[in-house]
Symmetry: C2
Subunit: 262 residues, 2 copies
């Protein structure tokens, strides 16, 4: 994730990747920020970058540098003279803004917007998300072009994000809903499969026998309950086949008559 | 959101803010990155920053600079000599990593981790999330200290995030679940309340009367259906009280006998 040593020199999206919303940067100031936006876009499987009047000119060497390999997104970016022109072909446009505007407008969180955008892409609509200049944000005229507002709810006393971070949070909300095959939690097991109940019971029997030999079960009445508690504790481990062997090895070593120095 | 002109000089969390997981940076290299992490943390209502052996020393002027006002997070950061020490008081620790490790470990997405962390905080447990150095990520020894792995699923061909972006995405997943009072979508209306049905019907009647005067309804048989379609289109606007007056004004102006030049 934050490991940066394996960034490919030039990355792009596979041809069959599902299309996503255009990212529209209105009068961005610094090339560096455009590059970081391109990187965040490609992280999230987005590659339609549109730029309106970039202050420092275009093409931008610093944009390519900060894109960390998302060079194709930069090279294929389209540059426009006006916001209206940049959104001409789109059927649903969101304006990101934190400030209250005196405009009647639906407002979406990133999660809400992602839901709406996925519904619209399922219906083959072309959509886009506008971001304003670093310092000032979108003008009211730009916001009026949009069908709805996108607002990232953050700590109200400290809600300022930089441009690329805003693109990343919103892009990730889009990407998150693409990844239907990724469960919110699972267990990574490496090579060894989960243990069968037989393997688990074998290891438990090994443990109980060793404990009995060592006189662990002082009170025969309490033994069933104690055994159950021990089994329950180890069951929670959800061990692999390999780990049941490791556990047997541990028990065997601990039960040795002659101790080796540790 | 990306409007940066209103960043407070020094921001902190209110006393009664719900506690969240510690952010644990293991051997971060650049002060700039630590500052940006502090900013991302405070964006997401987190303020327990722990740093293990920062390469460029501590305190760090560049960290304060890039924190954009999250100075209290920087100043209250705790510095440790080892990861083990930094997590000593915690009851549940997550290790962020993208690389496959040969370790049996539960894996969470940010959404899954947020769910788990909120459950644990509801139970008053102290939790933390570890992030490795910028270039290399966490060592296997560090990952082994954690109860589970946190992985951000991104474009598999381009999944590298910088440190602060990883903190932001994961922090936002935490914050998102705090904001139960923020609906995923709502309509911002400014000062004017939503129109009553009476106001809406009045505007519609005004429109229908004007259309009738102008001979719009050529076919009396089709009229009910045409009227219904027009009503339905305007109903979708979900107008404010003020907007019904605006609509009446539009109709009145259009219906004028004497046209003014446009």
């Amino acid at each position: 994730m934050q490991d940066t040593n394996n960034i490919p020199k030039r990355s792009t999206l596979p041809e069959d990747h599902p299309k996503g919303p255009a990212i529209i940067l209105v009068e961005p100031q610094m090339g560096e920020n455009i590059g970081m936006c391109a990187r965040a876009m490609l992280n999230c499987g987005l590659d339609d970058l549109r730029i309106i009047n970039p202050r420092d000119g275009w093409p931008s060497g610093s944009a390519i540098q900060t894109s960390s390999g998302a060079v194709n997104v930069i090279e294929n970016a389209k540059v426009y003279n006006s916001t209206a022109e940049a959104v001409e072909d789109l059927q649903f446009v969101l304006a990101t803004t934190a400030r209250e505007r005196d405009m009647v407008k639906p407002v979406f969180t990133p999660a809400g917007a992602s839901h709406e955008l996925h519904n619209r892409y399922a219906d083959n609509q072309k959509c886009g998300i506008m971001f304003g200049p670093e310092r000032s944000g979108l003008t009211n005229d730009d916001v009026a072009l949009a069908h709805a507002v996108l607002n990232v709810p953050l700590n109200p006393d400290f809600s300022s994000l930089n441009l690329a971070q805003a693109v990343l949070l919103i892009g990730y909300a889009w990407y998150e809903k693409l990844g239907h095959d990724i469960p919110d939690t699972y267990t990574r097991r490496g090579e060894s499969p989960p243990a069968t109940q037989q393997e688990f019971n074998g290891a438990m029997q090994h443990l109980m026998d060793a404990l009995e030999n060592k006189g662990f079960f002082l009170n025969p009445e309490k033994r069933p309950n104690t055994e159950r508690n021990i089994r329950n504790m180890f069951a929670r481990l959800d061990m692999t086949s390999q780990e049941t062997s490791t556990l047997r090895g541990i028990v065997k070593a601990l039960a040795r008559q002659k101790q080796t120095k540790t």
